[in-house]
Amino acid sequence: MSTQSAAGRLPSNRRFVDRFGDRALVGTTIVASVAVVVILALIVEHVVNGSTDAISRFGIGFLWHTIWNPSTSPGVVNANVFGAGVWVYGTIVTSGIGLIIAFPLGVAIGVFLALLAPGRAGAVIGPLVELLAAIPSVVIGLWGIIVLAPFMRSVVEPVFHDVLGFIPIFGAPSTTGLGIMTAGFVLALMALPIIASISRDIFLSVPRELKDGALALGATRWEMIRGVVLDSTRSGLMAAGILGLSRALGEAIAVTQVIGAGTSLPGGVFGNSFFNNGDTLASKIAEVFPGTNHLFTASLFYLAVILLVIELIVNLTAQLIVYRFERRQGLVR
């Protein structure tokens, strides 16, 4: 190796410094990299440790039991009994509403930015859509309370109730405009830029020959998009949707502000109106953590465990899909 023969002519202290420097740099970078793994492990350890008493007391039924009663006063029925059912319901429904709105919109925006927008329009609109992701959630929540909620109460909820009121989920409009539906709308807003920018990048990776080929065969732009672009990127789009979902599932602050802190499901799981107040796993933690007694605290940690497990599954699934997608596209060696 030429490096060795060159080093042979260097003054010995320089050689020593170089050998030391190489090792020191490798060593510190390894320590920093391992630190990430350690932090991740510590997060799991602390969250699980904090929740052990609630896990051993309530078991897996914690996931669907709907009584959440922190009261420890004597004579109270079900005192100090905790179940996450209402918050699990709230998490699923709000994220579901968010995804149902944000996914088609986000993919449509991705199509526009990657395939249809004239050069300059794409260069302006793309960054603007991404800027939406930079707005702090607490500001979106503030906007949700003061601008969106009155609009929900006076326009959206009455319209839904009048047209689809025979379905129990579109019950009587709320008095505040705060509720599960409003939280779902806010989450849609937060997932939208993620889905839009990922799907745009995926569409840009579709080989030009395929698109040109379809157009040359006489397909219209839309037929080319549907037949070639959307069809060949289906798994990538799924990953985009999952990453948007991941954003929605974990959001605590904006949801806390607009969901109205409901504590029950008045109509049952399938009959509860989306205009009722509710709470999600994340927003419940944001509201009452660290709680007022030991079992209460442990139950809140249990909520964090559920959230962590959900996010772990969701993110690993997305990683797996992305990895497969990239390998198929020949991006991974």
Binding site: S2, R19, G21, D22, L25, V26, T28, T29, A32, S33, A35, V36, V37, L40, L42, I43, H46, V47, G50, L105, A108, I109, V111, F112, L116, A117, I125, V129, L131, L132, A134, I135, P136, S137, V138, V139, I140, L142, W143, I145, I146, V147, A196, T220, W222, E223, E251, I253, Q257, A282, I285, F289, F301, A304, L307, E311, V314, N315, L316, Q319
Partner: protein, 302 residues
């Protein structure tokens, strides 16, 4: 299809039947996708306009330089302590996260083999996907319960640093891998050791990207509320720099608490604080993007 594909009696330029329908669908779908994009831009515009309209009437010199008035719903006073506190928290967080993020990026781009790079990349992605509220709970458990026994600004900065690390590592790594391999080879060829090559060639070559990533992470940390909720939310209104001794007042928690209050004067303060925060984040985000685009262009031009 009953009609023949080409009717010799009709000129090719005449559009009818199936083709007209296909064109209509095409127009409709293209219009729909443009409408979706315009909708997103309109929502962003509406959000920013609302913050500006409500916030501008609140902002004044005294709003930016005075500490908040004491008491629920008390009017008057400003958010000086929260501005100072937020800057302090994110400066400390970035001082922790930036060196770590850059070191990780160096390891991943310069040293690691696939076998070691993959688990660390996965860990970064998982950390990035961990809800910030869970990171807040973690920082509370590790540092508030397990360390200081009360809220401290440092616990908040630590939580923010955990959020920043994956962002900085990813942005720096992306830029380092854009530094041409020829530069590294030339340096090696001159007999220069690896660490000198990295510190003297790779780092300066990707400095723009590292700074950009750090600025973007800095701006992102400034807007995070959830990590501060259990670590730095119980504070007096007065300005303090005692990051190890007490909770530090900050803008996101101020907005959250004021937004949930029933008093109009608190809402007004929330809008003012939101405008300050949004302006800060937009400046950080936009300048980061401009730098990033310039940096990328520099390497793509080669």
């Amino acid at each position: 299809m009953s009609t023949p594909l080409l009717d010799p009696a009709r000129p090719l330029t005449e559009i009818g039947g199936n083709l007209a329908r296909r064109r209509r669908i095409d127009h409709f779908m293209r219009g729909g996708s443009m409408a979706a994009a315009l909708f997103a831009v309109a929502v962003l515009g509406l959000l920013i306009a609302t913050v500006v309209v409500h916030g501008a009437s609140v902002i004044s010199i005294s709003f930016l330089t005075k500490d908040p008035a004491i008491g629920l719903g008390a009017s008057g006073g400003g958010i000086a302590s929260a501005i100072v506190g937020t800057v302090l928290l994110i400066v400390v967080a970035t001082a922790i996260a930036a060196p770590l993020g850059v070191l990780i990026a160096i390891y991943l781009t310069e040293f690691a083999t696939q076998r070691f790079a993959r688990p660390i990349r996965l860990a970064l992605d998982l950390l990035n996907g961990t809800p910030s509220i869970v990171i807040g709970v973690f920082a509370y458990s590790l540092l508030v319960v397990g360390g200081f026994h009360h809220q401290t600004g440092f616990a908040a900065s630590f939580a923010l640093a955990v959020i920043e690390i994956p962002l900085i590592a990813r942005a720096s790594g992306e830029m380092m891998s854009l530094v041409p391999k020829e530069l590294r080879d030339a340096s090696h060829g001159l007999g220069i050791s690896r660490w000198r090559t990295i510190l003297g060639i790779v780092l300066p070559g990707s400095l723009g990207g590292i700074v950009t990533g750090t600025v973007l992470a800095f701006a992102r940390a400034g807007g995070e509320t959830a990590p501060l909720l259990f670590t730095s939310s119980i504070f007096s209104g007065s300005t303090t720099l005692n990051i190890f001794g007490a909770a530090i007042p900050n803008i996101p928690v101020t907005i959250l608490q004021d937004s949930e209050s029933g008093f109009p004067s608190d809402h007004a303060r929330a809008w003012g604080a939101a405008l300050v925060l949004v302006v800060f984040i937009l400046i950080g985000n936009l300048s980061g993007r401009v730098m990033l685009a310039r940096q990328r262009r520099r390497y793509q031009a080669r």
